[in-house]
Symmetry: C2
Subunit: 196 residues, 2 copies
């Protein structure tokens, strides 16, 4: 470390600042989180924030990446570590019930929450495509099981993937609305009842 850079050193921890920004955007959304909110929370001036991250959208891009790294890992693990698509997605839903209701962080999924009602179409569309990407990953995982004969050949793969994605979004919203982990576990269990 100690990357020898000239000039006055930054007076705040960039990584800690990014963490704070994740929490703010997560709980309030992109549009409703102002630069002033961020600088107040971080205890720095706007110039420092702009020097470190560029403009608001660039900061948000970093926030989205950081969110995936720090809070989104359970998805990949569930998909990778279970033998069947059904077990993978059941585990994914159950872990989502936990992740969406953890104490000390905003409720629900940031990829869903932060982009709603943003005046910036760009942000809305960005998160939308990440969500669509997740559904596409579900679809791939399910297709593997169909080809392996674990699921029937005539399985409507896309419909199943969208189903899981929709339930996930519904759980996220219910978490925001105050549902407990136990509540959401039951939702996840009921949702998997519908699985072929």
């Amino acid at each position: 470390m100690a990357s020898t850079t000239r000039g006055r050193p930054r007076s705040f921890d960039r990584k800690a600042a990014l963490d704070q920004a994740v929490l703010l955007f997560w709980s309030q959304g992109y549009e409703a989180t102002s630069i002033s909110d961020l600088t107040k929370a971080l205890g720095i001036g706007p110039a420092s924030l702009y020097a470190a991250f560029g403009d608001k959208k660039a900061l948000f891009d970093e926030v989205v990446d950081a969110y995936g790294d720090r809070y989104g890992g359970y998805m990949d693990r569930a998909l990778a570590q279970e033998p069947t698509a059904k077990q993978s997605l059941a585990r994914l839903l159950h872990e989502a019930a936990e992740e969406h209701t953890r104490d000390g962080r905003p409720r629900g999924c940031m990829l869903l929450c932060a982009g709603e009602n943003a005046n910036s179409v760009e942000v809305t569309e960005q998160l939308r495509q990440i969500r669509a990407g997740n559904v596409a990953v579900f679809e791939q995982r399910i297709r593997v099981d169909v080809q392996a004969g674990i699921l029937p050949q005539d399985t409507d793969v896309a419909a199943l993937a969208l189903y899981i994605g929709s339930v996930l979004q519904g759980m996220s919203q219910s978490a925001r609305d105050g549902a407990s982990r136990e509540d959401l576990e039951k939702v996840a269990a009921l949702a998997m009842n519908g699985w072929p």
Copy 2:
């Protein structure tokens, strides 16, 4: 009619203006819809809008009512016109698939969309409570069937109601994200597979 009121008559159709306001708040959300958006869409000045509706929040309250009247009736009908809770809620989900994807109106459910990421906690909470009220109605309907012996005595009524509510919210979000009516019909069908 011709309610004989003195003074200069209003130059615009109040009901049509309210309709327009519903569409704007529905598609953009409470916070992201500015008074300027509304006055531009209606072709009137801000003073006229304020004289007719009060402030932004009062207008939104009327919008919420109007939305329920004009677009929310399918819920009550589904709950009232089917013999069992299962049939009621299955119909509700299938009709939601249709309602959430109708051409010529914003996608999804306004009661979910409009309040997200609003700086006004009041608005967020207002819509949240309407949603909670809907889940409570589902719960009542299910409980009737339990008491009638149609559903097992040990049915977790609250969990089932939250399940339907969550799926509904997920469908609304998926509709916003571009899912077609057919896509959502399949989601609804899969969701009802999980029903006891």
